[in-house]
Subunit: 177 residues, 2 copies
DNA sequence: GTCTATAATTTGATAGAC
DNA sequence: GTCTATCAAATTATAGAC
């Protein structure tokens, strides 16, 4: 866990949210894990909303960077889709947790508005990317929605049932055409 | 909102959880909505965990009853799948919220064990039903997982983006074979 | 069954010293 | 940047009167 204190705070906050949701993480838990006092966190992130926006924004931006990298790396739409699926697989295997924005989406009704907007940004940028860089034709948007829904749902099921192979079973049904 | 006080409590609790998650609902909010004091809720449900188990168990049991009804009503696997999808569509359109157990699944890491078990029961009974009453063949389990993941993910996306047509786009890609 | 009263804990947040 | 000290609010929960 390298990086500045602010980055450490964000790393732990993201981990907590992905485990139990926005209302499940606290400044005190984060501070104890880092080894500082909870009051010190307010120096880096004045309010909890500020911290929530920061991790959601970072997550969406990092994802967008990965998507851009996929486009420049793979000319084939099949390879792009495979690499895209791998992004979600990593979330499950490496972190054994939900997609951060999938988690936030489930509680979007009670999120502070700025956090909800960042969460929406994640979903729209994913849908747009799939509908432009992977799928073609009249039903490109619909197919994009199907893929993203399947991946988010697969993460959800794999998490609650603690069965990583469920994710692979769902992934096996995903194809470009 | 008819029924006994206990049922009213469960109705409101379920609504709150489906909106913002398990850590987002409180005895005080429920009591204010009903018009009693929060202490009175403890008479019906001694602890918050008890209430959480009650609504998760009721949700899973009701769902199981619907599944049994579908089997006796429709002989065709196509019709069964269509009726199954309609169960999730109702959750979105009528309540404009997540599936209760989909919501609980996302926070399963921080749920009290009895609630997590009820949540798991919902998913296993759905997967088992789909793999027996709708799909056939070697990949029946995989196809069942794909359908449930797509539906849960579709609810998630439709909720956060506030676009009910996203659900229909995903549903359009679901078929028996 | 519901009430009042209260306890014990946790939470996000601020002020000011260092 | 981090600390101590403190605050106001919300939370689940209990005891006992009615």
């Amino acid at each position: 866990m390298a990086g500045s204190t602010a980055e450490k705070i964000m790393d732990i906050a993201e981990s907590q949210v992905r485990a139990g949701g926005y209302n499940s993480f606290s400044f005190r838990e984060i501070s104890q894990e880092i080894g500082i006092k909870s009051a010190s966190i307010h120096y880096h992130f004045p309010t909890k909303t500020d911290l929530g926006v920061a991790i959601a924004s970072r997550y969406a931006t990092r994802f967008a960077e990965q998507l851009a990298l996929i486009v420049t790396t793979y000319p084939s739409v099949n390879a792009r889709l495979q690499a895209y699926v791998a992004l979600f697989r990593q979330a499950l295997l490496h972190d054994q947790k939900m997609c951060l924005c999938g988690q936030l989406a489930s509680e979007s009704d009670v999120l502070p508005e700025p956090i909800r907007l960042e969460t929406r940004r994640f979903f729209t940028l994913n849908l747009d990317w799939l509908a432009i860089e992977v799928f073609t034709g009249d039903d490109a948007k619909a197919r994009a929605a199907s893929v993203l829904a399947a991946l988010e749902g697969a993460l959800l099921m794999s998490k609650v049932l603690d069965q990583a192979d469920l994710f692979e079973q769902v992934v096996a049904g995903i194809a470009v055409r």
